[in-house]
Amino acid sequence: MTMIHSVVMIIAAELQEKASLLECAIGKDEAPLPGKTYVRPLSPDGSEPVTHWGCHTWETQAFLDGKEAAKSGDYPPSVDFAVYGLSKDDAHSAAAGLIVSVRDIAVRPRDHWDEVLAASGLVPVVIKTEDLKL
């Protein structure tokens, strides 16, 4: 499963949970549900509320082919949406709403990430968690 692509994916906040569950359904993430594929909070000006969530991954051509097929509702028969609380319509809306940018794996990931955010008019949101110091 050698990776050949740098991939940035962004999903609207209202579709984040479905998109994350979809990643679990296709075996790219796992419990605790809904997984944590889309972990970078984004918004137009970097302030809350978060309007989108994003991620960067290194991937195969087969993964990208699968993403493209999913936009048409075409999934391998082995994918069991119900196990993850998804309907086919849920999966379709999540797949169709996904922004996917693909570059050669040689690109510096942060450059790719920054490029896609700029093109999408999005900025990372700083959500500082409380100081735990357990």
Binding site: E23, E30, K133
Partner: protein, 261 residues
């Protein structure tokens, strides 16, 4: 003179060649150059075999079971190999690998850690020099220990929290290979980078050692938690290494990252 020269050369070669870190009884030993310890999936399946394979599991070679894992495919680093070196590449966007509690390889009062890496770019500049808000090669989930980096007067910072933050800082330029030796013992925290002078600050017992360790990110902040870096290995023990062991480990870890130390 000739005889002496040959003798010293022979000793150095022998020391570098024969060190087996297992003989030092470390509590953690991660070695990305050993493909038998790397797997693509977090459950330890799918051997890593080639450049650009994802890594979801790094086995702990110390025998103490402190394996590092990542269940989310998008968050896994990839294995890279070139010119005889091997490393894990973290994307600086959302990659990390972790899991074991730090008490598997440190105690509140004592730890001795060697790690080898390259931070490609430093994207953070928190002036408090705390790992919570700065890029980190490794850290724990409570923000109590780690090795982190900041932009201004660019530096690497060994961190220990004993009720207040303590950092041992040294200059660092992004893109440079390093071996960092972090020692916490006798109420002090020290950082030695490569062959540079050791920096030592006072630091008492670590406030907690029950948080999970991570490589490739700091602990919790969701905006700049992830580090654009290469990871070449890590060895840690709950007791300090002897001077001879330190010298041998510097040489050993230096070779992992392409340095002669």
């Amino acid at each position: 003179m000739l005889g002496l020269g040959i003798s010293l050369w022979g000793q150095r070669r022998a020391a570098a060649a024969v060190l087996d870190p297992a003989t030092l009884s470390p509590h953690l030993w991660l070695d990305p150059s050993d493909l038998t310890t790397l797997f693509q999936n977090s459950n330890g399946t799918g051997a890593v075999a080639a450049d650009n394979d994802p890594v979801g599991y790094i086995g702990d070679k110390s025998g103490n079971g402190n394996h590092f894992i990542e269940a989310t495919a998008a968050a896994r680093p990839i294995y890279k190999t070139s010119a005889g070196l091997s490393w894990l590449a973290f994307d600086g966007v959302d990659d990390s690998i972790g899991g074991p509690l730090v008490n598997g390889f440190i105690t509140e009062a004592v730890y001795d850690i060697f790690c080898a890496g390259i931070v490609n770019t430093i994207a953070t500049d928190d002036p408090s020099d705390q790992p919570t808000f700065n890029d980190a090669l490794f850290s724990d989930g409570g923000g109590l220990i780690g090795l982190h980096f900041r932009q201004s007067a660019p530096r690497m910072c060994a961190f220990n929290y004993d009720g207040s933050p303590d950092t041992a800082n040294d200059d660092y330029t992004a893109g440079e290979a390093f071996v960092a030796h972090i020692r916490h013992s006798g109420g002090n925290l020290s950082l030695t980078q490569n062959a540079r002078a050791t920096v030592t600050v006072a630091s008492g017992d670590t406030g907690s050692v029950i948080n999970p360790a991570s490589i490739g990110r700091n602990r919790t902040d969701t905006s700049h938690a992830w580090t654009d870096c290469k990871f070449y290995g890590m060895i840690a023990r709950k007791t300090i290494f002897s001077a001879g062991e330190v010298a041998a480990l510097k040489t050993y870890m230096g070779a992992k990252v392409g340095l002669v130390l």
